[in-house]
Subunit: 197 residues, 2 copies
């Protein structure tokens, strides 16, 4: 029996997670595949590799390529992109704690945070920016921020990051279909095919 | 005026260069795009990043993913793959000096070296293995090895690696179309599309 479920692992600081987040729901729905949104943190994973910054900053030649590649991808997808972003990488901790709440507004929230970061040059660690986005997606900002900062919710994000590590995830975006791992925006279609085999 | 030329930058130690090398000529020909084979060395590029080994060995979690991803790609392409290879990475210096000779047999030679490495578990730095491959592709092994080891040819490979660095290349396989760079086997179709715009 086929699972027909794709789990989408994303991190708000991740550039390639932006085009992935904007299209994953559409692509999954068209294939009749259920989608689970899985925010996690790359910081603890990068730290185990000895990195204290984005590899795109640590390896600037690769970074320069990534920005150009992202431009091409966004142009093809018709996605707005304004470079350079306000800063890179931004701290996505608060946004991830909000995204993991699994409210009905979460997918719209995730897309709006990526848009704020990569198209609107806003600070996604800024409570004012986050509250604006929450209002925009129909959430109660005060209630959502309180829920996000509750100890159990903080712990949930840590647990989810531990689960990412246990599953062999080392970058974002990643997709899992059962025990099968796919890394990168350009592997979304492969993950969908795997789920519908 | 469109160039309609794709340059294919490959390194014999590179795993994803294997499926790329096996399909690049077919894909380019189908699109009416001219193809230039560009062997180069990743070692000097990785050294500038502080790496003295393949990143897939330095970051074993990423390495484990890569081998699984390569299995899926080769299965889809109908390419033989026998893992683990004899060793990883293999030293591709001698093979690169042969591949840069630009003889008519070079494309067949390149494909045979990748097959030896990733499907046949042979040592591609071994003169006996290289001589067998040269014979198989219709070359005179003694003459080819002598030409490969001539000082001017050694220098040519160094110059080509310097050109790769100057063009912002940081990994293999890469494709260039004029000043536009594409990195990875999964960007071949993008490069072809760029050349035919």
């Amino acid at each position: 029996m086929t699972a027909r479920v794709v789990e989408f692992w994303f991190e708000f600081a991740s550039t390639y997670s932006y085009p992935a987040a904007m299209r994953v729901e559409r692509v999954a729905r068209a294939a009749g595949v259920a989608l689970v949104w899985r925010p996690f943190l790359l910081g603890p994973i990068f730290a185990t590799q000895g990195w204290n910054d984005s590899p795109f900053n640590l390896y600037p030649v690769k970074g320069a390529y990534m920005w150009r590649d992202l431009e091409r991808i966004c142009a093809r997808e018709g996605l707005p992109l304004n470079l350079p972003p306000m800063r890179f990488p931004q701290n996505g901790l608060k946004a991830a704690r909000l995204a993991i709440l699994e409210q009905a507004w979460a997918p719209n929230f995730v897309r709006a945070v990526y848009t704020a970061n990569f198209a609107e040059r806003k600070g996604i660690a800024d409570d004012v920016v986050l509250a604006e986005i929450l209002t925009q997606v129909g959430a109660d900002p005060a209630a959502a921020l309180a829920a996000a900062n509750a100890p159990a919710n903080k712990e949930r994000l840590k647990t989810q990051t531990d689960e990412a590590i246990a599953r062999g995830i080392f970058g974002a975006p990643s997709f899992t279909v059962g025990g099968e791992l796919f890394w990168g925006n350009d592997r979304l279609e492969d993950a969908i095919r795997w789920a519908t085999r």
